[in-house]
């Protein structure tokens, strides 16, 4: 039970990270590899807002989301928009987003140095309680709550709102969207901003959860996020949620019963297993890609 809950906590952060990833990938068909760098940057910025800025956790988190959204706008503007007219825009954007990620990490290193940073010990009240014999901290409950709320909110936004409709229209046929009066550049930029804001919150929560932020934390989660998108079904938001939680649970169980060296092996083997059974991913197939 304890392991299941621990898996759920880490998995919900993976899910939040992956959902942001999947939003740009699934909706706009762009793989934004600067997403992990925004994730890492936001952890450091969150820690600075609390330690230097003196903000309480509750205020720091929305601030981190705003900073993340701004970073998302910059990434779109620098790495993707100048290339959008090219026939190989997908691949070119992927490469240029890696470049932006590298620059972002270099800026972090310049500002914060190479050592691990932490939130102050009193950032969050150390309340614990029992759930069916397992120990749960208030922080963990809050993390799951925030992640689930954001993922559900995003799913609603995409499926039901005017903006979501515009995103899907741009995704399917940018020219048709323009003809209908949609400002395609603006919808694209907004999608990047929302995606990055979610990645930023995931970064700050991750750093809270493991009580450390490192420059390499983005690349550690990058592959997991990609795997979760593929397993969930390319670009499916519910798929990214379920895939993220599944990965978190699998990791925790692997560490518990086989040792930490087995963590990635077991987790990724499980994901491969799912793909063998359902090549389209857990929630894939509903929306076949149009040519």
């Amino acid at each position: 039970m304890q392991q299941l809950l621990n898996g759920l906590f880490i998995g919900s952060i993976y899910a939040l990270f992956a959902v942001g990833f999947a939003l740009v990938f699934g909706i706009l068909d762009r793989l934004n590899l600067a997403h992990p760098a925004v994730f890492a940057a936001s952890a450091f910025i969150g820690i600075e807002l609390v330690t230097v800025g003196g903000l309480p956790f509750w205020a720091a988190l929305p601030a981190v989301a705003v900073v993340g959204a701004l970073l998302g706008l910059i990434v779109e503007r620098v790495a993707f928009r100048p290339l959008k007219g090219r026939a190989d825009a997908h691949f070119a954007g992927l490469i240029s987003s890696i470049a932006v990620a590298g620059m972002l990490i270099a800026l972090l290193q310049w500002r914060y140095g190479a050592e691990t940073r932490r939130f102050p010990a009193d950032t969050f009240p150390a309340v614990r309680f029992d759930v069916l014999g397992a120990q749960v901290t208030l922080l963990q409950v809050v993390i799951v709550g925030i992640c689930l709320t954001l993922v559900v909110g995003l799913t609603w936004l995409v499926a039901r709102s005017r903006l979501g409709r515009g995103m899907r229209a741009v995704a399917e046929n940018p020219t048709a969207a323009r003809v209908l009066g949609v400002n395609v550049d603006r919808v694209t930029a907004t999608t990047f901003a929302i995606s990055a804001a979610l990645g930023a919150v995931a970064g700050a929560l991750f750093a809270m959860n493991v009580n450390s932020a490192q420059l390499g934390m983005g690349s550690a989660i990058e592959l997991k996020g990609l795997a979760v998108i593929v397993v969930g079904g390319m670009g499916s938001l519910p798929g990214a949620l379920v895939g993220g939680i599944l990965l978190g649970v699998a990791e925790v169980f692997a560490v518990q019963y086989l040792g930490s060296a087995w963590r990635d092996l077991i987790a990724f083997a499980l994901l491969f297993g799912i793909l063998l059974l359902r090549p389209q991913g857990l929630f894939g197939g509903r929306r076949a890609r149009q040519v």
């Binding site: 399917e172 209908l180 149009q290």
Partner: protein, 237 residues
Amino acid sequence: MTEPVLEVENLSVRYGRVEAVRDVSFSVAEGSLVTLVGANGAGKSTIINAVSGIVRPHKGRVRFRGADITRAPAHKLVARGLVQVPEGRQILASLTVAENLAMGGWHRGRGAARTIDEMYQRFGVLAERRDLPAGTLSGGEQQMLAIARALVAEPRLLLLDEPSMGLAPLVVNEVFSVVEQIRATGTTVVLVEQNARRALRAADHGYVLRTGEVVRSGPAAELLADDDVVRAYLGTA
């Protein structure tokens, strides 16, 4: 005579080094139905796309209701009442019929809801299928959806690009009767068609295009009655 809704002066469009449209001028009077006819590759769609801001003209000027819109982006023109039904319909296949219609009202907010209801009354098949993905509709139904979606935007000038393309003869009749109804309600229409004979019968005024240039123009009835025009340009239609 009132001021034209649309005036195109000396329009040229280039794709790379190829001049797809060369020095084309025409004007469209308020409430009229004007057609641009010509073979495939004559530059008809390019003209439509240049007018609606999808492609940038190389030279020339486009005026809509007195204002210069030559360099205006497409998304601003829709809000001003210049709406296109693009070639190949371009419906959003993965969105539902209802969502497609809602996209037509992108710039209108809640005001579009009533127009959407009107479209459901006018096009019964769309009402029946409103919750289905638009990609499941037949070609003719998709064309009706594309037209209805454009009407939700409340156009003052509707640009129709090849609405009869790829449709069965009976459905073509339906499309043309819808176009004539739209015009009858006072909306100005520019119709681009390969089916020239049919388009000229519906139109007030026609322009015949060949390899990017206007080769003949005049009242549609006169073009239809002109043996030279029929032989040279409408022979196969």
